[in-house]
Each structure stands twice: as C-alpha cells, then as structure tokens.
C-alpha cells in the first residue's frame, strides 16, 4: 500500500532522515520505535507531506505522492493523522471538530455530518461530550476526539505521532484501547510510539530507527526476543 524508497529529509545541514526504505501493507499495523531525534516523527510526517522530503520516493496505491501533479489535499484525506499535542480546534466543540471536515470538504449536509460525528464519538466512548469544548476535556478525551476527527474523513491509513506521549499516565490506557480496537477492525496504521508493551501486543511489524536510518525491522517477537543489531539491543535494554 505504501512504498518508501530512499527517503531523505534535511533541515539545512541537519540530515534527519538519511536513507529510509519501508513497505507498509494494507491492514498492517507498523510501530516505529527509537530514541528521540532518530527521525521517527519526521518519517511519519513525510508520509502525508507535512514535511516535504528532500529526496526519495513515497508511493501510495501506485501513485508517487511527491510528483508535482499529485493533489496533496486529496492524499491527506486518505491518511488520517493523530498528533502528540492533539491539536483539536479550541473554538469548536468536540462534535464540531469532527464535522468541520465533513461539511466543508466532503460537502455533507449538517444533519448527516452530525449523525456521522455522533457515531464516531460513540465509537471512542465520548458521545456525552459532543457539545463540550476541548479545554473542558481531559488529555485522554481530547486525543480520542482527535482520533474520531481523523476517522471522519474515512482514511485508508492512520498515522499516529506519539499519541500518548503528552498524556498523564492514567489516561494512556483509554487511548491505546481505542487504537487497539481500530487495529482489530483492520485499519492500516503507522504508529510512532514509546509504548513498548503496546507495540509488542498490537504491531504486526516494528521498525527500529536511529540517526535517520531504519536499523532493524521485524515482528515484535523477532525484534524484542531475537534482536540482531547491537544498537537495537542497547536501546531496548534502556527502555524495557
């Protein structure tokens, strides 16, 4: 579904991604782990062109998204994104956060959009919070609304950028649960995470990144219990 070839990204003289090759299959859940500054988030943000790659190819469903002719906005509707800092729209209620894209981009009428928005809120267990503004929601609730907002556009793939890193520990579980449910429904997911337990449980495949490279990849079993690379072992020893 997604083919990444020789992807590179530099910010000035800082080479954040050096040579990334990856392949993400439909319905696959891929977790990306690695130390801070390893390029995980940048890699994820390249997949929907929030960062413009310096070199390489990203092919989604046979289309090279870095071609000039590719409609970025249509592409982004196919790839939902969930941010570390939630980034809900503070001037909109939970429900309006979800329906805004439906009404303005997908041209739903208000009634249909509200119906769909409520169904999504119910799915993440927050139907009773429909009319509440983000500032009156806990971090975990905000992130669940953010997931519902991304799902509203009916993406084919969901990108998660450290979705639980900004949460109080007691709220991590509720967000991970929503993500687990999604994975079980067969959503294709790429998740940058520090939650090793979650990665081990949910991922079909794990990429370990360090210093702009994918150092090692494999199933959780392979990566955690039959580690090949010294660098990976060092990292896992520190975090596990």
């Amino acid at each position: 579904m997604i083919q990444v070839k020789q992807l590179a990204k530099s910010f000035g003289n800082l080479h954040v991604l050096k040579n990334i090759n990856a392949h993400i299959k439909r319905k696959e859940v891929v977790c990306v782990i690695g130390p801070s500054g390893s390029g995980k988030s940048t890699f994820l943000r390249c997949l929907n062109l929030l960062e413009e790659p310096t070199a390489g190819e990203i092919i989604i469903d046979g289309i090279n998204i870095m071609d000039k002719g590719t409609n970025i906005n249509t592409l982004r509707q196919k790839a939902g994104m969930v941010f570390q800092q939630f980034n809900l729209f503070p001037h909109k209620t939970a429900l309006e956060n979800i329906t805004l894209g439906l009404i303005k981009i997908k041209k739903y009428n208000t009634a249909t959009a509200v119906e769909k928005g409520k169904a999504l809120l119910a799915k993440v267990g927050l139907l009773e919070k429909a009319d509440v503004y983000p500032r009156n929601l806990s971090g975990g609730q905000q992130q669940r609304v953010a997931i519902a907002r991304a799902l509203a556009m009916e993406p084919e793939i969901m990108l998660f950028d450290e979705p639980t890193s900004a949460l109080d520990p007691e709220m991590v579980g509720e967000v991970l649960q929503v993500m687990k449910d999604l994975a079980q429904e067969g959503m294709t997911m790429v998740i940058v995470t520090h939650e090793m337990g979650f990665a081990r449980e949910v991922a079909d495949r794990i990429l370990f990144m360090d210093q702009g490279f994918v150092v090692e990849e494999g199933t959780p079993e392979q990566l955690f219990f039959h580690t090949q690379q010294e660098r990976t072992r060092e990292f896992l020893n520190k975090v596990l």
Partner: protein, 218 residues
C-alpha cells in the same frame, strides 16, 4: 448663557460635521480592514516575494507622517492621476484606509502567528487547503485575540480623521474651524468638538469591551 446659545445655534452644523467624520471613519476602517487582512496574509505567506510586498507597504506608511501622506496624495498624486477635480472626501478616505491598513497588517500578522502551528498542521492533515485552514481554523481564533489591538487602531484612525480638515473635508474639526473663524470663539468650539470626539471613542471602547466579554464567554 451666550456661549450655550452659540453652540446650540451651531449644533446643526456640528452634527453635519460629526456625520461626515463618522462616514469617513467608517468607510476608511472598512477598507483598512480589507487591506490589513489581505496584506497580513501576504505577510505570513511562505513566499518571500509576497512577504516583501507587504513589508514594503507597511514600511512606507509607517515611516512617513500621516499629514504628509494626506497632502501628498491630495495635492500631488491624485491631480496627476485624475486631473484637477479631485474629490477631497474620496482622497481622504483613500489615504486613511491606506494608513490604517498598514498598521492592521502588523496586527493581523501578530495575531495569525500567535496561533499554535499545530492548528495549521491539523487542518492540512484533515485535507483542508492552506486558505481553508486560515478561514475556518486560524483566523476565527486569531481575530478573537486581535480585537483589543484592532480597536486601538480604530480609535487612532477615528481621531486621525481630524487631519483631513487640511484638505477641506467638512468633518468635525473643519466645521469647528469655520465656525470660530467667524465668531472667534475658539475655546468654546474646539472644546465642544473635543468632547464629541471623546464620547465617540468612549462608545467604541465600551462596545469593544462588550464584544470581548461576549467572545470570551463562548
């Protein structure tokens, strides 16, 4: 009592002057807001040359006195473009719009830049264009924060309409001048228009506080 009667007699003239002041101020601020928003968006554009256009505009207007701008356009630029029969009111509104617009550019820039960049990213990630994200997500939040600064600029510009007396627009200050030119009651009439300006600004300030409170409650 004499003074009071003098002012009462002149009140139809003063009211006409006030009407003219309000009309010029209202239209100027309307156009200035459009200019400020337009060049403000250029100012935060990613393209350097668009930024440059806005920067040059702001720099020229901020770097020159309003009084010079008024007489330069009225006596210098407009006659060259349109011949002798330049309408003072149009020229006045034009210059005041241009002037206030430049100050509003910086207010819009600061307001837009004060919004967390995650908001733009979230909008773009959903599939909104840059323009849609600005319109539906960034500006509604930014404008709320900008209200005090915008109202402050409006207050300055309303008072600046008095400079247009120079080019013969029959606004409040000009009207007072023509009256005391005849009866020599400069203290009384300049004092009267000062009070009228103060009331005008006071009403606007009250309205802006009311608006702020209403938006904060949302």
């Amino acid at each position: 009592m004499d003074t009071f009667n003098l002012i009462a007699d002149a009140s139809p003239l003063l009211l006409k002057g006030l009407e003219s002041t309000i009309k010029v101020a209202f239209l100027s601020l309307l156009f200035a807001t459009v200019l400020g928003l337009f060049f403000g968006l250029l100012r935060v554009s990613k393209r350097k040359w668009l930024q440059m256009i806005a920067k040059v505009y702001v720099s020229i207007i901020r770097g020159t006195p309003l009084y010079v701008q008024v007489i330069f356009f009225y006596f210098g630029v407009f006659p060259l473009l349109f011949g002798r029969a330049t309408d003072a009111v149009s020229a006045g509104i034009f210059v005041l719009s241009l002037n206030a617009g430049a100050y509003l550019v910086e207010i819009f820039r600061a307001g837009i830049e004060s919004i967390d960049k995650g908001q733009m990213e979230a909008g773009r990630a959903i599939g909104f264009t840059h323009g849609q994200t600005m319109a539906y997500i960034i500006l509604p939040q930014a404008i709320k924060r900008m209200i005090p600064a915008i109202v402050n600029q409006f207050i300055i510009s309303i008072k600046d309409t008095s400079l247009l007396a120079t080019i013969g627009i029959a606004e409040l200050t000009f009207t007072a001048q023509t009256i005391y030119a005849v009866n020599f009651k400069a203290f009384e009439f300049l004092g009267t228009i000062a009070v009228i300006y103060w009331v005008l600004i006071y009403v606007l300030t009250w309205f802006s506080h009311w608006l702020e409170r209403r938006l904060a409650a949302q």
